[in-house]
């Protein structure tokens, strides 16, 4: 399919006589500098997902100085617009293009087939090609540390969780946090609210308030704004965590720690690989160990012993000694999932669509 499309494309361009300039229409111009492009789904000022990717881009610029030029386009809707932006970048001479939203998956594959010499990196997807890598972060590792702190510190034994959409990524986080909260506190209960939006600070604030009113004294969030932390601060006596970025302006309390998306090391390594000519298509799913997931400073609001345990948990995950999904674990319906000592395979984790035993409520379908 893609092959025929590509052949047709060159054919049509010639037929229309548009290749008259002599240069092949779709050839990339090459300059000395390595050019790295970034396609963002939100504005760089969203303070969350896109913001962190842009921090990664800036780190690349800083690391390589004049050897690298970076370009980006923000607010690119998924679908045909994304495809067009990628083509524009590739023909303008980009050597490496990071496409940073799940919905860019098919557009990335389509464009990559037309530009075999350009390397593509698609975040959070699963389709690869010779010149397309995928990369994602194991946020659930951070969730385990979060769950541990949350379970240890809750006094009402109710933990509120604000989810965006019921997708594997979010469900994985809920499960991981729940397992580790339950370990230190068998009485713990999770109240889950789905916001059904990626971004609506006012709604996130409302959701946090509702959870607090219903007795939660720890708020976990899988949405990117600081609204829930502000609500926690206003209510008083509530703790929460930074999400995506450190949100240290709410430290030491209510923000007692955070999960940080740190794309910089990966972006720098992949850019280096392109410069060295050693880039290969790969499937990267990194966690705390390689530094793609960062745990922000645990503040003094957390008791010393809990902090020590949390850091120990973090280290054992980082070293690979411990996997957050280690059996025995059952699914919500009571059926067996993992036997004693067994760890979850990446395939199951990637497409996780069930709650573990003990969580209440259904995943919306």
């Amino acid at each position: 399919m893609n092959l025929t499309k590509r052949a047709l494309m060159t054919g049509a361009a010639m037929a229309l006589g548009l290749a008259a300039s002599g240069a092949p229409v779709l050839a990339e111009s090459h300059s000395e500098k390595t050019k790295v492009g970034f396609v963002y789904v939100g504005p760089v000022g969203d303070g969350g997902w896109t913001y962190e990717h842009d921090q990664g881009r800036k780190a690349v610029e800083e690391h390589f100085g004049d050897a690298v030029e970076t370009v980006y386009v923000e607010n690119v809707p998924e679908g045909p617009d994304a495809e067009r932006v990628m083509v524009q970048m590739a023909r303008d001479g980009a050597d490496l293009i990071f496409t940073t939203s799940f919905g860019y998956m098919d557009p990335t594959i389509n464009v990559a087939s037309k530009f075999p010499d350009v390397k593509f990196e698609h975040a959070t997807g699963y389709k690869t090609a010779d010149n397309v890598s995928v990369y994602s972060a194991r946020f659930y590792e951070g969730r385990a540390v979060q769950g541990h702190i949350a379970g240890s510190m809750t006094e009402s034994n109710i933990i509120g969780y604000i989810g965006s959409y019921p997708i594997p990524e979010v469900i994985r986080g809920i499960n991981s946090a729940y397992i580790h909260a339950k370990k230190v506190n068998p009485d713990v209960e999770f109240k889950i609210v789905w916001a059904f939006t990626w971004f609506d600070p006012a709604k996130e604030a409302d959701a946090a308030k509702v959870l607090i009113e219903q007795g939660a004294d720890v708020i976990l969030q899988h949405t990117d704004s600081t609204a829930p932390l502000a609500a926690a601060q206003e209510a008083g006596g509530i703790i929460g965590f930074g999400q995506a970025s450190d949100m240290s302006e709410y430290a030491p309390s209510p923000r007692v720690s955070s999960i940080i998306d740190n794309w910089a090391p990966y972006y720098i390594a992949r850019t280096q690989a392109v410069m060295d000519g050693t880039w290969e298509s790969s499937n990267t799913w990194d966690g705390i160990g390689p530094g793609m997931v960062g745990i922000g400073e645990i503040t003094d609001a957390v008791p010393e012993d809990v902090k020590t345990e949390a850091l120990a948990l973090k280290d054992s995950i980082a070293s690979g000694e411990y996997h957050p999904f280690t059996g025995p674990l059952k699914k919500q319906d009571g059926s067996d999932w993992l036997a004693e000592g067994e760890t979850a395979d990446d395939g199951t984790l990637a497409g996780m669509n069930f709650f573990v035993e003990g969580l209440e409520g259904e995943i919306p379908q």
Partner: protein, 306 residues
């Protein structure tokens, strides 16, 4: 499932907060529409107010100055609309939409460098005895000042339209601008003032979101609330107290659906999320039995022929 987890007192208290921003913006738009002008740019003016207020509050450390700046910012942007529609006689629907587009871009440019900053906090009034009263204490006396400001504004607008001469003139202009002109009223001047008032209110509503409800600045943070404000005015059939009712109803349904979710009620979430909009439509149908109608000159272009 645990319905007892829902505390009605807290529910009412938080719906009052959830309703404030949209209410302030809607009451401003109500004045604009009563003057016979339809400004669809509320979202753009709100987001501009949100960043103007946020930036001013951060720079000066005073939320009060922030709110003043937000009102000025919203009003300034609305004057652009006033120029287009009142002097250049442009179509109001298109001008309003253009204003929203422009405002979203402008606010994003102004907001560069304000991400991840915490604004100065606005104190919440706390009257020692009253706030501790059972039930009513939390509902009536436990909010930030802007909640009361919003209520006062609704009352003021109601009194203005009903009892003052200026209110009468404003309504006359909205009902029949040619007749009002013939009577010697300055139609354009009155409308420009109404538009600026609407802009200021939208700006205040936006700043309520960026300074109190969410406290932070992110691009596009009003996330469609301006459109809801427009809907509220129609919902209220251009009557101030019904704006209040509508805002509380809308805020109430939103907060209630989150409450039901947290309580683990097994209703599909996406249908719960739709419910505020569907209920608005249903209520609208019920209220349509009331034959009050839009200002007769709404959206029509006025040009003095002599």
């Amino acid at each position: 499932m645990d319905l007892s987890a829902i505390n009605p007192v807290l529910l009412i208290a938080s719906l009052m907060v959830a309703a404030t921003a949209v209410m302030i913006a809607a009451i401003g738009e109500l004045i604009v529409e009563r003057a016979g002008v339809l400004n669809l740019g509320v979202e753009g003016m709100m987001i501009t107010g949100a960043i103007c207020g946020f930036a001013a509050a951060v720079q000066t450390g005073s939320p009060t100055i922030g709110f003043v700046a937000a009102a000025l910012g919203g009003a300034a942007l609305s004057l652009l609309f006033a120029f287009l529609t009142q002097f250049a006689l442009a179509n109001q629907v298109a001008s309003g939409l253009a204003l929203t587009l422009f405002g979203l871009g402008l606010s994003a440019l102004l907001g560069q460098g304000y991400q991840g900053i915490k604004p100065p906090s606005t104190p919440r009034i706390d009257i020692p005895v009253l706030s501790d009263l059972p039930w009513v204490g939390r509902i009536l006396f436990g909010h930030d000042l802007m909640v009361y400001f919003g209520l006062a504004l609704v009352a003021a607008v109601w009194a203005f339209l009903k009892y003052t001469r200026a209110g009468l003139v404003l309504r006359a202009v909205g009902e029949n601008h040619d007749a009002a002109h013939a009577l010697g009223y300055k139609v354009i001047r009155i409308r420009v003032m109404a538009i600026a008032f609407g802009g200021a209110c939208a700006g205040l509503g936006g700043a309520y979101i960026s300074l109190i409800r969410v406290p932070q600045w992110t691009e596009g943070m009003t996330a469609g609330i301006g459109w809801i404000a427009l809907a509220l005015v129609v919902f209220a059939s251009w009557k101030p107290w019904r704006v209040l009712l509508g805002a509380y109803l809308f805020g109430g349904v939103t907060v209630l659906q989150l409450n039901l979710q947290a309580a683990g009620i097994a209703i599909p979430v996406e249908y719960l999320s739709m419910s505020p909009y569907i209920i608005t439509i249903v209520v609208l149908v019920i209220m349509s039995a009331d034959k009050s109608r839009a200002p007769a000159s709404l959206g029509r272009i006025f040009h003095a022929t002599h």
